[in-house]
Symmetry: D2
Subunit: 311 residues, 4 copies
C-alpha cells in the first residue's frame, strides 16, 4: 500500500515502555502499537518528547524504530524524531532512523548552543539535503528555547525543505499563520501542519490543521480519533464536548507533586501509569533521572481513568 | 607522573580544528595542544562548548579525546565534556571519553527536558556511580536553561559525587558561595572550583577559585598563565592590568555581525580565525550550521591580534 | 439602562489619541469612541496596553477615563485598567478610575518585584476588598513576567474576588481551563472570560469565551462585531473566513522595522496610523520613548487598509 | 558644603520603615538615617528596590525623600529612584523627588512594555534633558527584563546624559566593561560606577568600581564601610575576610520559606526584621502584598545577627 505523505489525522507520539531496569520493553511496545492501531489512529510518531527520546541511548532509539516500523509493517506511516543538538549530530540520527524504517523524520531547531534564525534555516536545509525521507519541523520552544518563526517555516516549505510542521509551541495564533500561509502559498503543494496539543485539538482542526500529535492519545486513542472525525464532519458542538472530556482526562498529568519532580516526570509518569493500569504495558517505569510517581499518585491516575470510563 | 586531581590553574577549553569539509583536523589539533602546552597551561578541557562539542558527532568526539590524550601522554590532565541531554545518554559519553583517555569528565545538568533540582541531583549521583574518573559539574545556564544551586553543588561535593565545578554561569556571587562553602565544609577535602569566564579571572582567583577555563586561552595561553601567576603571587595591580589587556582582546568575539549570526558562530569563529592567523591551525572553519565570519570580519580579528602583539 | 456586568461581546481596548506634543487629544478620543460605538461594540476597555496606559501620566489617565465615560454616558460599559507595580499603587489607580466613571477595573499581577502565587492571590484579594466596582484579572505574562495559574483564577472567581479574566497570555489551553472551569464550578455564577487575542477570537469563542478585547478592533470594529455574531450563531465556516481576513489585516503590526523599534512601537504605531489614515484621529503620534513609524511604513499600513477595503 | 557628584563609596539603598498599618514610619526612618550616618556611609539611595519603591504610593514616595533629605540636611548626597514604566511617568517622579530634595535620580530602563535599545536610549536622553539633577542609570534586569548594554551606557555617559550606573545585574564582566570603558573614554570625565551587589563588593572595587549600593548595609553599615576602606587601601586579604563575613550575614535573606513567599518578601523581610531586632526601627512590616516572615523565621534572622556580633 501507499503511505500518505505528509501524514494527516491522529498521529500519537508513542510512549517507550521500559523494563524495571530501564531497557526498552519490546513486547510492551508492540502491544502499545496494537492498542493505538486498534484505536484507529492514522500514523505513529516515535522518538518524540513523549517517547522519552531525550532519555534513550542511540542503541535504544534504533531498537524503538525497528520494533515499531517492523510491527506496523507499512499499515501506518511511522514518523521518527531525530533529536539532537546540531546538524552533524542530527544527520547521524536521520540516517539511523531511516535505516530502521522511518517514513519521515521530525527535526527540532538547534539547541544547547546560542543560535540564530539564519542558522536554523541552514540547519533544516542541510538536513533535508541529506535525508532520503520527508523532513518535518518540530517547533518546541520549551525544549530548545527558540520559537520557529512562521515566515521561516513557510519559506522552507515553499523551497521543498520542509514537508510539514509539528507545533508544540502552545502558540495557536502562530500555528494559524503557518496553516493559512501554507494553503495560500503558490509554491506549497503539500504541507502537513500538525498540532502537538492535547487540549485545543478541536481549535487547531477548526482553523485548518491537518492533524494532531497528542501524547494523551497513548492513553485514549479512541477519544482522539473520535474527536478528529467529529471535527472533519463539522460536528463542532460534539467535538467540543469530546475535547473537554479529554481535557479532564489530561489532568492526570497534574498528580505528580511539583515539589518533588519536574514536568516531564509528572506527565510521562502519568501516561505510563495509565497504560500500565489499562494493561497495555508491563511496567510504568520512566527513564533516569526522572522521579517516579508515588503509589498514591498512581492511584489518582487510576481515578482519572475510572472517571473517563477507561478502567 | 601523577596527575593532580582535581585540576587547578589554567585549563583551556580546547578548540576543535576542522578541515574545510568539517572533519576533525588531527594535525592542527596536535599543533594546538603544543601551542597550549608551550604557553604553560596546567590542564586541557576537551569537548566543552568552546570545543564545539554540541556540533561534533560521536565518532568525532572520540577522535578528539584520543588525539589529545595520546598527544599529551600524561604530561597534563585531560578533562572531557560528556555533553548530552540526560543520564543514559551522558553515561554513554562518559564511557567513550574515559576509554579514549580522559582523566575526568565534565557533566552538565539535564537539558531539553523539563527538569527539577531533585532530578539534577539524581543525574549526578548516577553518573558518578558509573564513572571510573572524577566528575566535575558544568554550570552553564545559557545552554541548559537551569542554574545549579550552590547548595546542591556543595551537598554533592560533600557526598563525594562531585570533584569540582566548572562555572560558566556568569554569576560570580553564586560561584563564591561554592568556593567559600567548599573550603569551610568539613566533609569536602578536595574540590576544584574553576571559573569559565574570560573576563573576571582575576576576581575569581582573588576570591579563592582553583583555576580558570577561558576559551580565549586558546588564542593567548601565555596571557592567562601570566595572569594566573600574578594572582597566585598576590600581585593584584599587575594582574588587573593583564586581565584588562585580555578583556580588550576578547572583544574579537564581537566582530561577527549579530544580524547575520548567533553568539556561538561569532565567538568560536573569532577564536578559530585568530588561531588560523597565528598559524596554529590550518583552517578556521566552524561546524555546521554555524555561519562563518566574512573576510572583513576575519581582518578585524587580525587587528585585535596585532593590537595585542600576537601577530 | 442597566449595564451587563461582567461584560461580554467585543470590548475593544481603546487607543489613546495624542496630540503632536503628546497630550491626550480629547476630540480625537471622542471620535474614536463614536467610531467604535458605530461599529456595534459591546463595551470599551480604556487604560490597557493598547491604550498606552504604561506611557500615560496619572493626570492623562484620569482624563482618558473621564472623557470616555462621559462621552458614552452609560450606553456601554467602560472597563479601565489600573496598571501599576503592586497593591498600594494599584489601589490609588482603582480609586482614580472609579471616581472618573469606570464600571469595572482590570488589574494585572504585581510586576517589577519578584513575586509569588501567594502574593498574587493576596494582591487580588486586597484590591477587590477596596474596590467599589468588579475586578477583572489581566493575564499578560509578556508585561508582568508571570502567568496567572488557571487554578488561582478559578479560586478567586469562586470567592467573589474576580468577576472575570482578560487573557492576553497567548495560551489558549490555559484559557480553556478557566472557561470550562468557571462554567463547571458550583461557586461561580457570573464570570466573564475575555480573550485579548486578535488572531484566534473564533477559537476562543468556540470553546466558550464570553468575549474578546482585540486591539485591532480599533481599526475595524465592524469586522470583530461581525465575527462575534457569526460565532454566536454557530456559523463557523464564515466566522473562520472573517477571522482570517482580520489576521491578514493584523499584519500591519509587522511594518515597523524590528531593527529600529520594539514591538509596542510597531503595533501601536500601526493601529494609530490606520486610525489616522481612516480619518478617525488627528495625529498618529505614540507616546515617548516609542519610535514612530517612517513615512514608508505608514504607507504600508495604508496598503493593508486598502486591501481590506477600509480606505 | 559641596556634595560630590557623582557619588562614590558606600551608598546604602535605604529601607523604608512602615507602621503596622503600612504608613511610612517617619521617626523610624530618621533613626535609620542616623544609624547609617553613624556607620560612616558616603551617601544614601532612597526609593530603590530595597526601599520598596515599587510598593510605595506617590504620596509615600514624596514623604520618604522629604524626610531623608531634610534629616541629612546636606551632610550626605541623597540619590532617589524615579521608578516607573516609561518616560512620561518617570518624568513626573523626577520632578517630585527633585522638589523633595534629591541630589540625583536613579532611572531604570522602560518596563512592562516591549522595548528596544533605541527606545531605552531615547528614554534616558529625554529624562536627562528634563532633569535638573544628574541622572544615574539603574541596570536591574531581574525587574525590567532587559539588560543595559555596556556600549549604550558608555555612549550615554560620553554624551553627558548619564552621570553614572547603578549595576544590579549580577553580571560583573559587563560591569567591568563599563568601568574600564568609562576610564578610557576621552569624552567621559566624571562617571560613577556603583555595584548593587552585597556579595562581590571587594571584586567590584578591585576592578575599579567607584562605590557600592548594598541593601545589607542597612543592617551592617560599619561592615561595608570597613570593607570599602580596606579595598581603597589595597588590603585585599583583609577585605576578602570582611566580605566573606558579610556574605555569611547575607544568608539571612534565605530564612523566608520559598514555598510560601517570593524573593522580595524574603530579602526585605529579613533586612527589616534585623533592623527591628537591632532596635533601629519600630516595626518590621513590609508593604502589601508581600508575605511577612513567621516568628520562627524572624528568630533565625536574629541568629544570623548574633553570629555576626550585631545583637
Amino acid at each position: 500500500m501507499t503511505i500518505p505523505a505528509p501524514p494527516t489525522g491522529v498521529v500519537p507520539p508513542v510512549c517507550t515502555p521500559l523494563t524495571p531496569d530501564r531497557e526498552v520493553d519490546v513486547p510492551s511496545l508492540r502491544r502499545l502499537v496494537d492498542h493505538l492501531t486498534a484505536g484507529g489512529v492514522h500514523g505513529l510518531f516515535v522518538l518524540g518528547s513523549t517517547s522519552e527520546a531525550a532519555y534513550l541511548t542511540d542503541r535504544q532509539r534504533r531498537l524503538v524504530v525497528e520494533t515499531v516500523a517492523g510491527h506496523v509493517a507499512g499499515r501506518l506511516p511511522v514518523l521518527a524524531g531525530a533529536i539532537d543538538m546540531t546538524t552533524p549530530r542530527v544527520l547521524d540520527h536521520v540516517r539511523a532512523v531511516t535505516e530502521a524504517g522511518a517514513d519521515a523524520v521530525v527535526v527540532a531547531a538547534p539547541f544547547y548552543t546560542r543560535t540564530h534564525p539564519a542558522e536554523i534555516a541552514r540547519h533544516y536545509r542541510l538536513v533535508a539535503a541529506a535525508a532520503s525521507v520527508p523532513v518535518i519541523a518540530y517547533d518546541i520552544p520549551s525544549a530548545v528555547h527558540t520559537k520557529l518563526p512562521a515566515g521561516l517555516v513557510l519559506e522552507l516549505g515553499a523551497d521543498g525543505v520542509l514537508a510539514g510542521l509539528k507545533d508544540s509551541s502552545g502558540d495557536l495564533a502562530g500555528f494559524r499563520e503557518v496553516v493559512t500561509g501554507a494553503r495560500a502559498h503558490p509554491g506549497i503543494t503539500a504541507f502537513s501542519a500538525l498540532t502537538g496539543s492535547e487540549l485545543v485539538v478541536d481549535s487547531a482542526l477548526a482553523l485548518g490543521a491537518d492533524g494532531a500529535v497528542p501524547g494523551l492519545a497513548n492513553v485514549d486513542p479512541h477519544g482522539y480519533v473520535r474527536l478528529h472525525r467529529l471535527c472533519r464532519d463539522g460536528e463542532w458542538q460534539r467535538a467540543r464536548a469530546e475535547q473537554e472530556r479529554l481535557c479532564a482526562l489530561f489532568r492526570m498529568t497534574e498528580v505528580g507533586d511539583p515539589a518533588r519532580m519536574g514536568g516531564s516526570s509528572a506527565a510521562l509518569g502519568a501516561f505510563k501509569a495509565a497504560l500500565y493500569l489499562r494493561g497495555v504495558i508491563d511496567c510504568p517505569a520512566t527513564a533516569e533521572p526522572q522521579v517516579p510517581l508515588s503509589p498514591e499518585e498512581v492511584e489518582r491516575v487510576g481515578k482519572h481513568l475510572a472517571a473517563a470510563g477507561l478502567l
